[in-house]
């Protein structure tokens, strides 16, 4: 399942969906809000385009690494330090494929999915990854 949501991520539910009798390994990745001197972040998505891109990345990962299942959930909205932004769960027959598939999904998501983060603090705010505007 691919999901972009304003509600809290349930890693347990994702793991349940990815479980399979053919899987010998499940790898999970949980991205969380790091304290870089701000109080919270806002996550924004070009929802329709991001879902299309995430589905393409999921299909590529499934095919390249022979995954049994790949789940991706990305949060949007306002998140506090420590909250989860992104969760990925990959299941495969063996750990190598599960690790590689999970790594592929996070790296491609960062390069290709139209999502943005704004750091918000008491005195300043800035869009992550942008030099100016």
């Amino acid at each position: 399942m691919i999901q972009i949501t304003e509600t809290e991520i349930s890693l347990d539910e994702m793991i349940k969906r990815a479980r399979s009798k053919d899987a010998g390994a499940m790898v999970t990745f949980l991205g969380t809000v790091r304290d870089d001197g701000m109080e919270r972040i806002e996550v924004e998505a070009f929802r329709e385009a991001a879902l299309m891109e995430l589905e393409a990345i999921q299909e590529e990962a499934m095919s390249r690494f022979h995954l049994i299942a790949a789940e991706v959930v990305h949060r949007t909205g306002t998140l506090a330090v420590g909250e989860s932004i992104l969760a990925i769960v990959c299941s495969a027959a063996h750990r190598e494929e599960a690790f590689s598939g999970c790594r592929y999904i996070i790296e491609e998501l960062k390069k290709r999915a139209p999502l943005w983060k704004k750091e918000l603090g008491e005195k300043c705010e800035r869009w992550v990854g942008q030099t100016s505007t």
Binding site: F46, K110, R112, A113
Partner: protein, 92 residues
Amino acid sequence: MRIMVLAFASFREILGKERVLFLKESATVSDLLEELAAARPAFKEAAFDDTGTLRDYVLLMVNRKRIDPTQDLSRPLQEGDELAIFPPLAGG
């Protein structure tokens, strides 16, 4: 012709989330960006450098497919096209 413009992140703060522009037939991506720059000086300052060149952190999609701003600004738009403008991606 009618073109839907979507803006995200810092460009949404300048242009608003979406707006419809009516352009002459055969207008290009570049024509549309110039129209936006003329209407919103803050967009002109954010998107173009002093020589009028599009800044390299301005990313574009036409109908939800990325285009290359170094090659595709002369691409003609079609009635009903959707152009998305946004800064570098930062998901995850």
